[in-house]
């Protein structure tokens, strides 16, 4: 009998072997034990340029990566010989912003132990750190200490993971110092451990390992005050925290496994937490189990969730169910005088908040005749925080008088611009400088004993209300990538720059597979001043009585090759963002406004869709081809309209445009017959003074026939392309869908229409919605129909990009356009989805082989997810920019305008002013010196006022408001302020 046991001495491996054992629990609650091999080696270099003993490793191609750490690292008072930093995990968790500074923190050694821990604790921070290791001037080196024989540390019995990891860090620092000591050099840098953990520092002292706390280290740097503010708040007080367990203000979260079990069992529900824009103490959460959102009311129940977090909730007993709030509650008004310093001894819910809530409860009870209290829930745990960086300003009232001048650390409140985010507690030494500035902060933690989340300062954007600061704030708030394109991206541009031309010789490889369409009478129609011309059109009569119509789209995919730096950047940006006075491009200017742009009178590469349409605009056939075109003219919508209407113009180009217009009208009619919705959102245009770029006027956008001409053919092109790429790539085609909204979304609006106007809203199909919206007319008030359309639009789902393979065919449907299948193809200069569609179409017509990145479904799904978010953010940013400029254009002016009541609360109402496309909130207390008495009739959407002002306000009512420009004290935003003049 032979034993299978391996004799240890016989191990022929030249490597030292260890194993790592993990225990993990899966989502289904199983516990798994994972054993991994670890090969310990001695050829992992220290990567210091002074060391001659280590040999840098080479990759398979034989390329050697040179040492990273400088041979003359910077010195400090404590380490005059120079130093390399070795941060531990906490240091990185608490102060990643510091490490990203360009003034300090060079030559940093990141240990594998730390990298692993950081990845488990926070993926975003891990990604930022990986970004840092790629930066050449920061000189961050990742040392794989767990794989090096001398620095590998085995976990001892009864040793906690954290203690073992701390020991591994100390061991690595120790080794580094000993290793560098072998080098004969006069100026030997010290390798210093950087930590926030007191225990770790003490142990380091015992072992004679150089170590310093983050605060002490930063304190010794120039610019210490600014840098100190960037250290997160949470950790330092860690030791004292356990003492006062009684002072917890919030309920404890459930453990992850308890939540998982609960969600699995259907007792708890998971979803994304949303805060009402009108009431910061009211949140809602949409969970798969119920058709309508659950309400979450009050601080206790919200339990430290912040807008956007993924949370788990528990439904409250039925006696705690309530109607959604009919009251506007603003954090600023209620917690105005809170002291940022003192949390201790206070109740979680302040007296005022409690009273406000009680009133709410009473209201709910009295109106119980109608009685439809809704299920409420409380947050019992957080699955994932979705904290980002927040822009805001410091609350003046939270600042002590002494703090403004001194260098003492002070605790203040930051009021975020986003009203849905709670005030953030901030400790800073530079209150004086930060007052009146727009600043960027991050939230570090929200512990049970702290009423408000605690955060730290990241950087200042500049003075409040300056255009630069406000624009940057707006971009940051909407997560728009606005930094200039890096060099790696610009390197991908054609070397000829603006001199690039379509090759003259048709034998040039650029012409391969392209059709010569230069002879066609093509023109483009765009808004005034458009520089990035994506599309151009032509039409001509065919001998058989049909028409040939072509839509020609800029051939961006010719210039942007898949997976190069430019493509990656564009896929991250996802879309071009249009602000009133600024455009943040998805692609570098050279391409967007010149080489790709289908400018008139020059030859350009294009991707053409060519149809044969009959007299009734039905498609006889369609084909797709890469082409070369020469646009004859670039019209604005107005110019094109004038040209078409002018009967004296009888040239072929104008005739072609007339054909296009005729066909577009037929196309539109067909779409409407199929049930396409004509929805509405208030669109305005800000006119700028060309010299000073100050806004001078606001106009509602005018819609001409030519707008719809272009739109119809773009829709037609998108639909044709969608069909083609789906046919070629049924799994990976990038498409766009618009889901039918759940019927319950329309409940509120349907009820409002019924009660106030006796109108019925049918929602069974898009056709029914379209028809009943058409019927929503008020003969006396033409705007009423638009108002209802605006409100109906808000009940809809948003359209989204998706990969064909992720949905069943019936789900492809575009509800709003009433099309079975749809994609975006016509704006590749400003939308990444279109660029993907171009590549797929090019492959579908065998123009070029499919690049793997456009073929991998996983990758495309990630692309879709990102561009969906970016698309939405771009829209929000654009709207916010218009709102800001509308405010600016009103500066020093007072205008009286008509408005309409869109929403009624028990203590205020929301008014839409069509002329400026803005919505404003009017609170009862703004109506008169003393707040008028009010009776709120929820069933009839009426608010009766008496006392200091006699008035009845109803939903859909027309009013006249005085609009002036005012600074909103709560958010520091300048915007339009409305006062009610009279009801009509």
């Amino acid at each position: 009998m032979t034993s299978l046991k391996r004799p240890t001495a016989n191990d022929q491996s030249h490597l030292n072997l260890s194993s790592k054992v993990y225990v993990r629990s899966t989502k289904s609650g199983k516990v798994q034990k994972i054993v991994r091999e670890v090969y310990l080696r001695q050829d992992i270099p220290c990567s210091s340029q002074i060391c001659s003993n280590c040999r840098p490793p080479a990759n398979a191609a034989g390329q050697v990566s040179p040492p990273v750490l400088s041979d003359k690292p910077a010195g400090t008072k404590a380490f005059p010989q120079g130093h390399y930093l070795v941060p531990d995990t906490n240091a990185l968790l608490n102060a990643m912003d510091l490490f990203e500074q360009s003034s300090a923190f060079f030559d940093v050694i990141i240990l594998q132990t730390v990298l692993e821990e950081l990845r488990n604790r926070s993926l975003p921070l891990y990604n930022r750190l990986i970004g840092l290791t790629k930066s050449e001037d920061k000189r961050f080196y990742v040392f794989f200490n767990e794989f090096r024989l001398e620095t590998y540390v085995a976990r001892e019995q009864d040793e906690s993971i954290n203690d073992r990891n701390d020991r591994a860090v100390r061991q690595a620092v120790q080794w580094y110092n000993m290793h560098l000591a072998q080098v004969k050099s006069k100026r030997l840098p010290t390798v210093v451990m950087l930590t926030d953990d007191k225990g770790n520092i003490e142990k380091a002292k015992q072992d004679k390992v150089p170590a310093v706390t983050l605060r002490d280290y930063v304190g010794g740097l120039e610019d210490a005050d600014r840098l100190l503010d960037m250290i997160a708040e949470s950790r330092e007080r860690g030791i004292s925290r356990d003492k006062k367990a009684a002072d917890f203000l919030y309920p404890e979260y459930f453990t992850m496994s308890k939540m998982m079990t609960g969600v699995k069992g259907g007792m708890l529900h998971q979803g994304i937490f949303n805060v009402s824009p009108y009431n910061y103490l009211e949140g809602s959460i949409k969970v798969p189990a119920f058709p309508k959102a659950l309400l979450i009311l009050g601080r206790d129940n919200i339990n430290r969730a912040v807008d956007g977090d993924v949370v788990v909730v528990e439904v409250l007993p039925k006696d705690q169910w309530k109607e959604p709030s009919t009251k506007i509650i603003e954090e600023e008004a209620i917690t105005k005088n809170e002291n940022a310093d003192g949390d201790e001894g206070e109740d979680l819910v302040t007296e005022k908040e409690r009273r406000a809530l009680q009133e709410e409860v009473k209201k709910t009870h009295t109106s119980s005749s109608e009685g439809r209290p809704q299920p409420t829930a409380k947050v019992v745990g957080i699955i994932k925080r979705n904290w980002r960086q927040y822009v805001g300003h410091i609350d003046q009232s939270s600042v002590g008088s002494a703090a403004k001048s001194g260098r003492k650390q002070d605790t203040v409140f930051l009021i975020p611009m986003d009203k849905k985010v709670p005030k953030i507690k901030l400790r800073t030494r530079q209150v004086g400088e930060l007052l009146g500035k727009r600043i960027l902060v991050t939230i570090d933690a929200w512990d049970r004993e702290s009423r408000h989340p605690v955060g730290h300062f990241v950087r200042s954007l500049g003075e409040l209300e300056t255009k630069a600061a406000e624009t940057e704030a707006l971009l940051l708030e909407h997560d728009v990538q606005y930094r200039p394109f890096p060099k790696t991206v610009l390197d991908c541009l054609p070397k000829e720059g603006h001199d690039w031309k379509v090759p003259a010789s048709t034998d040039d490889p650029g012409w391969k597979g392209r059709e010569d369409l230069r002879g066609l009478l093509i023109c483009s129609i765009d808004p005034v001043g458009c520089q990035d011309i994506d599309d151009a059109l032509h039409a001509r009569a065919l001998p058989n009585g049909n028409f040939e119509v072509g839509v020609h789209i800029a051939d961006v995919s010719h210039f942007v090759k898949p997976s190069n730096a430019m493509d990656n950047e564009a896929s991250i940006r996802g879309t071009t963002v249009y602000l009133v006075d600024k455009r943040i491009d998805m692609l570098p200017m050279l391409l967007g406004t010149d080489l790709c742009s289908l400018k008139p009178y020059v030859e350009r590469y294009a991707f053409s869709v060519l149809w044969e349409l009959n007299q009734s605009a039905d498609i006889v056939n369609v084909r797709f081809t890469k082409s070369v075109i020469k646009s004859r003219e670039a019209f604005s919508y107005e110019q094109a309209q004038i040209r078409i209407d002018d009967d004296s113009q009888q040239d072929d180009l104008t005739k072609g445009m007339r054909t296009l217009l005729m066909l577009s009208k037929k196309l539109k009619q067909k779409r409407m017959d199929a049930g396409a919705l004509s929805l509405s959102s208030p669109e305005v245009k800000v006119q700028m003074e060309s010299e000073t770029s100050d806004p001078i006027d606001v106009k509602t956008k005018e819609l001409l026939d030519t707008n719809s001409l272009v739109e119809e053919f773009m829709l037609l092109a998108n639909i044709s392309v969608a069909g083609k790429i789906y046919e070629a790539f049924p799994q990976t085609a990038i498409l766009r869908r618009h889901a039918a909204p759940p019927k319950t979304n329309f409940d509120e609006l349907a009820n409002q229409l019924k009660v106030k106007r006796g109108l019925e809203l049918h929602v069974d199909s898009s056709r029914a919605v379209a028809d009943s919206l058409d019927a929503c007319r008020d003969p006396k008030e033409p705007f009423f129909n638009t108002l209802i359309r605006i409100m109906a639009t808000r009940c809809m789902m948003s359209a989204e990009y998706f990969c064909a393979g992720t949905q069943a065919y019936p789900e492809f449907r575009h509800y709003g356009l009433a099309s079975e299948i749809y994609t975006h193809f016509t704006s590749p200069i400003r939308r990444y989805a279109d660029l993907c569609a171009h590549r797929q179409l090019a492959a579908a017509i065998d123009y070029e082989p499919m690049h793997p990145s456009v073929r991998s479904r996983g990758k495309l799904e990630a692309v879709c997810k990102n561009i969906n978010v970016r698309h939405r953010n771009a829209q929000l940013a654009g709207r916010a920019s218009i709102a800001y400029y509308v405010g600016q254009s009103l500066k020093g002016r007072v205008a009286e305008e008509e408005g309409f009541v869109m929403k009624i609360f028990s203590n205020g109402f929301v008014i839409l002013v069509p002329r400026f496309g803005i919505e404003g909130l009017i609170r009862l207390r703004d109506l008169a010196e003393t707040e008028p008495e009010s009776v709120y009739d929820a069933e009839n959407y009426t608010l009766k006022l008496s006392g200091s002002r006699d008035l009845t306000v109803e939903l859909f009512q027309k009013v006249v408001v005085r609009i002036s420009d005012a600074k909103d004290e709560a958010t520091g935003k300048r915007g339009a302020k409305m006062e009610l003049v009279k009801v009509i």
């Binding site: 391996r6 991994r36 310990l40 080696r41 990759n59 398979a60 990298l115 690049h851």
Partner: protein
């Protein structure tokens, strides 16, 4: 949890501390079951496989039909490969439920197991001198004790050892090894390093192939690639795998020679001319 394969480029180290061209620790034994005609045990990293060979023995098939289209052989669950008028090679693989992390039992009729069986059987059919044993069966029975990547390669190598033990003549050692690429299919990273001998985590995250060669030559006897990989990277991966096969052949050869030397020492067999090998 440890880092994933995306950190390779930070220091050119893989998730378990190896370089791109390092094999895992390889440990093998032959003649582990005295009662069997041939037997072996092989560990490649944490992938552990046991193999027992029975035969060549008289074929269970009645009538001795030569063609491959005959009815089910010894066991309906084994995969067989036949050489023209030679022995039939029947491969059975049993995977212990305990061999994977999630402890899921795979039945013998599982498609995945059948594919592995067929793969091993076909590769062996090309390497064995089966024509010497017409109308007989060589049964190769493999037991998977632990899985951590490169399973097919380990199965092939273990079979080779057991067949050597059983004394079945073959052209050369049939050895197999995996090779992967450091970045996924979608990434347009043309300079991605090829990797040798993937472990379980790498197999899950990266594209890879299994290559089997006949001993010292680079003659390909087996090539299986089930993940998407860019054509441009294929050549590098195959070169690395072929190189790895060379090293594995040397390791297997050492195992065989060591065992032979030990047996001579112990007097189990006489050192004589009948053994044409040089047992040092």
């Amino acid at each position: 949890m440890p880092l994933d394969t995306s950190t390779y480029n930070l220091a050119l180290l893989r998730v378990d501390g190896r370089r791109w061209n390092d094999l895992r620790r390889l440990h093998g034994q032959i003649r582990t079951q005295a009662a069997a005609d041939g037997s072996s045990y092989l560990e490649m990293g944490n992938t552990k496989v046991m193999c027992v060979v029975t035969g060549p023995s008289e074929s269970a098939r009645r009538g001795g039909a030569g063609g491959g289209a005959g009815g089910p052989a010894a066991s309906s669950s084994s995969s067989t490969a036949t050489t023209p008028n030679g022995a039939e090679i029947a491969v059975t693989i049993v995977t212990g439920g305990f061999s994977t992390v999630d402890r899921k039992k795979r039945s013998r009729t599982d498609k995945r197991v059948q594919e592995l069986q067929a793969g091993v059987a076909k590769a062996l059919a090309g390497a064995l001198h089966a024509h010497l044993y017409p109308r007989s069966t060589i049964a190769v029975s493999l037991h998977v004790l632990s899985q951590d990547g490169s399973l097919l390669a380990c199965l092939v190598n273990a079979s080779t050892l057991a067949l050597v033990d059983a004394g079945v003549p073959m052209t050369d050692y049939l050895v197999a090894c995996t090779a992967g690429s450091t970045s996924g299919h979608g990434a347009g990273d043309e300079g991605a390093d090829p990797l040798l001998d993937l472990n379980g985590q790498e197999e899950q995250e990266l594209p890879f192939l299994t290559l089997g060669t006949l001993g010292a030559t680079d003659r390909v006897a087996l090539l299986v690639c089930e993940s998407r990989v860019q054509v441009g990277r294929l050549e590098g991966m195959m070169a690395v795998a072929a190189d790895g096969c060379g090293h594995i052949r040397a390791a297997l050869d050492r195992i065989v020679r060591d065992k032979g030397a030990q047996m001579v020492r112990e007097g189990a067999i006489a050192k004589g001319e009948s053994i044409g090998m040089d047992l040092d």
